[in-house]
Symmetry: C2
Subunit: 202 residues, 2 copies
């Protein structure tokens, strides 16, 4: 049976992006380096977790993870990852704008799904078979899947910072709008750069 | 030099209490057992962390940690802990109501401090000497100390639940009103009941 995993980098106070996201600064002010230093500057120390993030046989991601939040990516935009994205499989992008699939080098194909999270997951499940479907983010997308009870394993990569964004209405926090959950912490590992916690949803 | 530690049990979404706190239900609806099951039902599995919570030579706590949020504890109320509280030392309670100190069995004395967090901490430092001052909670009190940069070590005891209280204005979340922080995760340990993460404030 397909297993549905989800990975997200968050601050200790639960944010995965800052305000004022843009093409130059996709995660918003101050959040980019603070939340992702562990994977960009210290990849060798976190190889196991980085490999796990990309072990999906198919992926689902939100439109803001695929392109700039205010950008016009329904035209030529082909994602943040250059000609050969690291997914090497089908990626189902949630959007309100229908678009032809985009085939990239190395086996990644972006499909654009306009009929919601369940439909995207169904297509990803079909593509993944017995493999893993990975919900790639961002927080808003994870919240939709968590609220619907569609995630089996949630992997938090907790960067050792707080962003201090309480009260901001222009940023999404992980678990916003998600009803109470019971979780099972099945794995934890910490380095000076990040604390990894894997929860099984029960 | 005095070291200032702080312990708090939080949900994965960062809450340390639910709404509708009362004398019967000091942590509010649904939060009591969810957040503290690890210490009440599984104490033997978490002896090291429980001992560390009580290693202070002096304590500071908020008025809501000392008594019911709407209760009239300025009269006879002597805390939640019965005749012999587990602190065995001076406890400085932040309040707006002056009151004579209350001496309990086993060395615990509750002192009531009306001139704010810095004053309470100063008195606790004087009492602790080279020992530890422990900020005992709740979230509102920790936030005041975190915002002022007065905590050396923050120990989160993350219960494997979310409370789903986003948008509630009657509950305090850890880090509410605290400017961005840089933290250093120096210890992590997880059991099926709780994930302990110790951060040094840098």
């Amino acid at each position: 049976m397909t297993r549905v995993t989800a990975d997200i980098a968050v601050s200790v106070d639960g944010f995965s992006a800052g305000p004022h996201q843009s093409e130059e600064n996709p995660l918003g002010e101050s959040a980019q380096s603070a939340l992702h230093s562990w994977m960009f500057d210290h990849a060798d120390d976190h190889r196991e977790e980085l490999d796990a993030i990309l072990e999906g046989r198919a992926y689902v991601m939100g439109r803001n993870m695929f392109g700039p939040i205010r950008g016009e990516w329904t035209g030529d935009w082909r994602g943040w990852w250059g000609p050969e994205p690291p997914y090497h499989g089908p990626v189902f992008v949630l959007t309100h704008h229908p678009r032809e699939s985009v085939e990239m080098d190395g086996g990644t194909t972006f499909h654009f799904v306009t009929d919601g999270p369940e439909a995207a997951l169904e297509r990803a499940r079909d593509a993944a078979g017995d493999g893993i479907v990975s919900i790639a983010g961002g927080a808003d997308t994870l919240n939709q899947f968590l609220a619907r009870g569609l995630i089996d394993e949630l992997r938090l990569h907790i960067a050792p910072v707080t962003l201090g964004l309480n009260g901001r209405t222009d940023v999404v926090r992980l678990f916003d709008g998600v009803p109470p959950l019971a979780l099972d912490p099945v794995r934890v590992r910490s380095t000076p750069h990040v604390t990894h916690v894997t929860y099984r949803l029960t």
